[in-house]
């Protein structure tokens, strides 16, 4: 039989930077008038405030735009997105499986903000970028989705082909003392 483990493009582990286990991901698009009904069917309140996230159990919704959310599922299974699609049947919306489009790193610890500041121009202080805030932004020359999951923890989603570029730069920043 085939080894159906999901391959990671990342090269290794270090103190502050770890590869996140595979997640389910989907991009959801829908109109403002339908957000309430879609949220009900998903069992997850789609955030309407800019750059905010909502979580329910293993599922999270990250606001990427007024009609765009990145849905995440921590218990990665190939059947998760088809299951969501079935629940949303009949709703005017677009749900596309992008579980493999991105891969994620978590950056944790006292130096998390500083490490990310090597390539991200945003103000990542807790005051300006509180826990639960998320945004689509740039790290160096790669597009990322950055999500603050704790006072000293960030989740960084990046398109798979850019993974090693981002990882290499982050590890160089981490190695600075």
């Amino acid at each position: 039989m085939f080894e159906t483990r999901i391959a990671s493009p990342f090269s290794g582990e270090s103190g502050a930077i770890t590869a996140v286990a595979p997640l389910g991901r989907a991009v959801l698009r829908c109109r403002e008038a339908d957000i309430g009904r879609v949220s009900d069917k998903l069992g997850l309140a789609l955030p309407q405030a800019a750059c905010r996230s909502e979580s329910n159990g293993p599922n999270s919704a990250l606001w990427l735009g007024p009609d765009e959310w990145l849905l995440l599922n921590a218990d990665m299974q190939d059947g998760w997105v088809p299951g969501l699609a079935a629940r949303l049947d009949g709703e005017l919306c677009s749900l596309v499986d992008v579980s493999h489009r991105q891969v994620a790193l978590s950056i944790d610890g006292e130096r998390a903000e500083e490490i990310l500041a090597s390539g991200c121009a945003l103000n990542l202080s807790l005051r300006a970028f509180p826990v639960g805030m998320c945004t689509r932004t740039m790290y160096a020359r790669a597009e990322i989705v950055l999500w603050r999951t704790g006072p000293r923890s960030f989740y960084l989603d990046v398109w798979r082909s850019f993974a090693r570029y981002v990882e290499a730069l982050l590890r160089e920043a981490e190695s600075e003392v």
Binding site: M1, F2, E3, T4, R5, I6, A7, S8, P9, P22, V27, R29, D67, D78, L92, C93, S94, L95, V96, D97, V98, S99, H100, R101, Q102, E114, A117, S118, G119, C120, A121, L122, N123, S125, A128, A140, R141, A142, W159, R160, S161, F162, R164, Y165, A168, L169, E172, A173, S175, E176, V177
Partner: protein
């Protein structure tokens, strides 16, 4: 002080318990921890440190900071690490430092180019605009190469820089630039309010002028103690970041400031792997500029001999470094600050031969006389003597002219506020008549200046001004603290006072030419007068004509004196003449700092597919396609590209090949109006495309020219899987979003990029079905169930698969799309299964040849932004009955339907061994005349045993069978025009 030792027995902030050895031009010296190269050289009695840029005159250390024009040195750490043009005044000493002087040959003492000084009257300002004009050819061959060899400062390093450089973004409420008295109180006041504060300073120690303060108390405490206490307090505050050795070099829009931080240059042994410098890009809500002031030199004849320096620099060398700059010193003053220096040097036991004040009698002069100084007032300075060091100065006071022996001359010409950063921020300067200085006036950014850089030179004023600026900055950033900033009580033994002079100093011999205004670019007062005489009125023109202020020091010492000379010569006021614009960087910064981590593999993102590592292991040669790394070909046994591609092509046609097509752009289009959207966007008709079917789509720009193409599959009535070219993916998605948001917001349809969701494994060749069939579950691959141009979701190797039966080779083919996390696994499974069928892996070059044999175009190769669908032979794809699509209207223009447009054709060379050059022009046979077309693709086809080419030729489809020529350097190549398809014209091979 013994002979050659100018270190005072005590004093200074150096650590005398830590002696350091270093060398300068191969000679060994010693200094102490805390020295700069400049202070250590002066402690050893060395003033001569360079030769001037144009005349190669001997030059010495003039200043003690970033304003230094002469003491540019090269520092070598090892074979790979050599940095030219460092300021000795800012280079911290470390054990074993190896420094060399610049712009001299063979040595500082004997410099061959010093002959320039003798011929200086033949090389006045602007000489290069006047000479070297004739004969014209001599400029290229003779003049320019020689001038280039003679010009320039320092030698660029020849080895790649082995160091690493870091970059960091930062945000703060208040950025304070400069940690002198005003900067310190500004930072303190802002920090107390709770604001996030960054305080940066370009020196290793913070404190600015306080580092050299003597007999000064602040709030009753000696200045040094007050400074230490203040720095301790700041360091202890969590909301304060202190950045020493950090120069604020550029002020960019919206309070975006560039800081260059030196991290390891001061260390004898830099920690391995650690960055040498760090670029900070700071976004500050509010900025306080506390950049201080720079002392002006005085412009008098022969004012550039080593040993002639700025008065305050001499005071700094004494008080901060415990160094006497000479044993018998003359002070020439136009500002009371010269008296302060004289008092402090005399208090330290250094002989002051005379104070020559170009002003009249004054209370400071009277006090100095009382203290035992000899003071000349109303003095004119007539010149100096000395070969490699000043030996005497000639002064006239009253009617008496005298020559005073000395080994150092200190100039106190007045203080120039440092308005560089304020000017960079586009703030407006205003001329202050009282201070005779340009001061910050209207701000363009959220910033304020404080202290000496806005004319508050006295210590108590600077401290209070800084505190108030810090309070106001914090308040403006949203941090109310207290209604008024504190005032500071200071006791100062020798106040800084006032005064100053602008322009040339009085001299009884104005004809003497060598009175320097700009030391670094060798510009004299006579040069500036010449420019004024020749009609240059604007200071910007004078600057460019004479090059004053154009050296790397940006005229920190020279600009104001140049203004004064122009003002006096033209009778126009200084505000009328204006001030040149200051530009970043304030002081030179390294290329490494700007480049940061963006070097080598990290210069630009290298995008890699999930199959990249497998291809690398197989020895694939890669090529760059946009940011992607793609396998170009897979050489075996030292094959060259030609052999590898020939083998790969044959194997695909005869058996089966595997190809990584993951980089193709993919967009999932979802919504009830998906088909309507496709109909409006692409030239093709989409409404009737059945679910499970694919169609080749062509996309135009508004002007009717082909923009992109790709196969599109319909997954459901409301869902399409669109593929684009590798390079066009982002462009197509962007254009689609643009149309949806601006033109067709009524459509219920959404776009999602799925390029990287899928690894795309193309399996192509007669054996393709046999290879993948056993791996596929839940799908009948028979030609009846899954004919050419079909799409279906199923499973392969136990993971989800989206299978497209499509062919870019003309063979039976499948594109296996699997979630990219499974890409490598599925590829390996197909590869292993394919071995029994003689499968090869092929790269982009073979893909190009195979498609050319079938006449399939490649966007950007056959098309160049001026090709219509009809030109490319794709008119069949256009949905003729559609009311509209992007570009349709343009296609109806007469020029777009001209039968003589360039059209896609095939070319066969008469000699089948000759492969045409892509881009070669095509002419009618035997005709001399204009090009009628060009070759777009040309390859050797191993399958056909001959060379083939595609070309765009005027009226090409009407020329089938014609013989044309491709003129090449070795003679014209005869070609026959054929239909642009060389293999299997009926397409039998794909329908199996």
């Amino acid at each position: 002080m013994t002979n050659g030792n100018f270190r005072m027995p005590s004093g200074g902030r150096i650590d005398r318990s830590r002696p350091l050895r270093f060398s300068f031009d191969g000679r060994n010296y010693s200094g102490f921890d805390g020295d700069t190269v400049a202070s250590a050289l002066l402690a050893n009695g060395v003033h001569l440190v360079g030769r001037s840029f144009k005349y190669h005159r001997p030059r010495g250390i003039m200043g003690a900071g970033p304003d230094e024009p002469n003491a540019l040195i090269g520092v070598r750490r090892d074979q790979e690490r050599y940095t030219p043009n460092l300021l000795a005044t800012q280079t911290e000493l470390y054990e074993g430092l190896d420094a060399v002087s610049q712009n001299r040959h063979p040595s500082l003492e004997k410099d061959r180019m010093a002959v320039n000084d003798k011929f200086s009257r033949f090389i006045p300002a602007g000489f290069y605009y006047k000479t070297f004009m004739w004969p014209r050819k001599a400029w290229d061959r003779l003049f320019e190469p020689r001038i280039r060899a003679a010009a320039g400062l320092g030698i660029a390093p020849s080895e790649p820089d082995p160091d690493s450089y870091a970059q960091r973004y930062a945000h703060c409420d208040v950025l304070v630039i400069g940690a002198g008295p005003a900067g310190l109180t500004a930072a303190m006041e802002a920090a107390k309010s709770g604001a996030q504060v960054i305080l940066c300073d370009d020196r290793s120690a913070m404190g600015g002028s306080l580092l050299a303060a003597k007999q000064v108390t602040i709030e009753g405490a000696p200045a040094a103690r007050w400074l230490a206490g203040t720095l301790d307090s700041l360091a202890g505050m969590a909301n304060v970041t202190l950045l020493p050795r950090t120069s604020a070099f550029g002020y960019y829009p919206h309070n975006w400031i560039g800081l260059a931080q030196k991290l390891t240059d001061h260390l004898a042994d830099a920690p391995p792997g650690q960055p040498r410098e760090r670029l900070w890009q700071v976004r500050a809500r509010q900025v306080v500029i506390a950049a201080g002031a720079i002392e002006r030199p005085l412009v008098f004849p022969d004012n550039d001999r080593p040993g002639i320096m700025l008065a305050d620099a001499a005071r700094t060398y004494l008080q901060q470094y415990g160094v006497a700059v000479g044993r018998k010193i003359v002070v020439v003053a136009a500002h009371d600050n010269g008296y302060r220096t004289a008092h402090e040097l005399k208090d330290a036991g250094i002989e002051i031969a005379v104070i020559a004040d170009i002003r009249g009698d004054s209370p400071v002069a009277a006090r100095a006389r009382q203290a035992g100084f000899r003071v000349l007032t109303g003095a004119a300075i007539d010149g100096t003597s000395g070969k490699l060091r000043v030996a005497s100065i000639t002064l006239t006071s009253g009617r008496k002219r005298e020559t005073v022996a000395c080994d150092a001359v200190l100039m106190a010409g007045g203080l120039t506020p440092s308005v560089h950063l304020f000017s960079q921020s586009r703030g407006k300067l205003a001329w202050d008549e009282h201070l005779q200085a340009y001061l910050p006036d209207q701000s363009a950014e959220a910033e304020r200046s404080a202290g000496a850089c806005r004319g508050h030179f006295a210590l108590d004023e600077a401290l209070a001004d800084g505190a108030e600026a810090g309070r106001l900055a914090a308040e403006a950033a949203g941090f109310a603290f207290r209604p008024a900033a504190p005032v500071y009580t200071c006791a100062v033994a020798h106040p800084i006072g006032g005064g100053g002079h602008i322009g040339a100093a009085p001299t009884s011999d104005p004809a003497k030419p060598k009175a320097f205004v700009d030391w670094q670019n060798d510009v004299t007062a006579a040069d500036i007068l010449l420019a004024a005489r020749e009609g240059f009125l604007s200071i910007e023109h004078v600057k460019r004509y004479t090059t004053t202020g154009m050296a790397t020091d940006q005229g920190k010492l020279s600009n104001i004196n140049a203004l004064g000379i122009v003002s006096e010569a033209t009778g126009r006021s200084i505000p009328e003449i204006g001030l040149t614009t200051f530009r970043a960087p304030y002081t030179p910064i390294s290329f490494g700092t700007l480049a940061g981590r963006a070097r080598r593999d990290l210069l630009d993102p290298a995008r890699i597919t999930a199959i990249n590592d497998w291809a690398a292991q197989q020895g694939a040669v890669f090529e760059d396609v946009g940011n992607w790394k793609r396998a170009h070909f897979f050489p075996k046994d030292r094959e060259d590209m030609h052999a590898a591609v020939a083998r790969e092509c044959l194997a695909v046609r005869e058996r089966v090949g595997i190809f990584d097509a993951s980089t193709l752009g993919k967009i999932e289009i979802v919504g009830p109006d998906a088909a309507e959207f496709m109909n409006r966007f692409y030239v093709n008709a989409w409404m009737k495309l059945g679910v499970g079917k694919c169609r080749y789509g062509v996309l135009l720009r508004e002007d009717g020219f082909v923009l992109d193409d790709g196969v599109v599959g319909r997954l459901a009535p409301d869902r399409f899987h669109v593929t684009t070219t590798t390079g066009g993916a982002a462009r197509v998605l962007g254009m689609m979003e643009d149309y949806l948001q601006t033109e067709w917001s009524d459509l219920d349809v959404w776009l999602t990029s799925t390029t990287e969701q899928w690894s795309v494994i193309a399996v192509q060749g007669p054996k393709a079905r046999e290879v993948i069939e056993p791996l596929v579950e839940g799908l009948d691959l028979s030609p009846e169930a899954l004919p050419h141009m079909s799409i279906a979701d199923a499973q392969i190797c136990g993971v989800p698969m989206r299978l497209m039966r499509v062919s870019f080779t003309g063979e039976l083919g499948y594109e296996v799309n699997v979630p990219s996390g499974y890409g490598a696994m599925v590829w390996q499974a197909i590869w292993e299964r394919g071995q029994a069928h003689g499968m090869v892996a092929y790269g982009t070059e073979t893909m190009h040849v195979l498609r050319a044999e079938k006449g399939f175009i490649i966007i950007g190769q056959e098309t160049d932004g001026t090709v219509t669908p009809d030109d490319a032979g794709l008119a069949w794809a256009i949905g003729k009955a559609k009311p509209d699509f992007v570009g349709k209207r343009s296609l109806a223009r007469p020029a777009m339907t001209d039968p003589d447009r360039k059209q896609l054709v095939g070319l066969l060379t008469r000699d089948p061994h000759i492969v045409l050059e892509e881009g070669a022009q095509i002419v009618a046979s035997g005709a001399v005349g204009a090009s009628i077309g060009h070759v777009t693709s040309a390859y050797h086809s191993s399958v056909l045993g001959k060379s083939i080419a595609l070309a765009m030729v005027r009226g090409g489809r009407a020329r089938l069978g014609e013989r044309l020529e491709v003129p090449m350097p070795g003679g014209a190549v005869a070609v026959d025009v054929v239909a642009p398809i060389f293999l299997d014209p009926k397409g039998d091979r794909v329908h199996v």
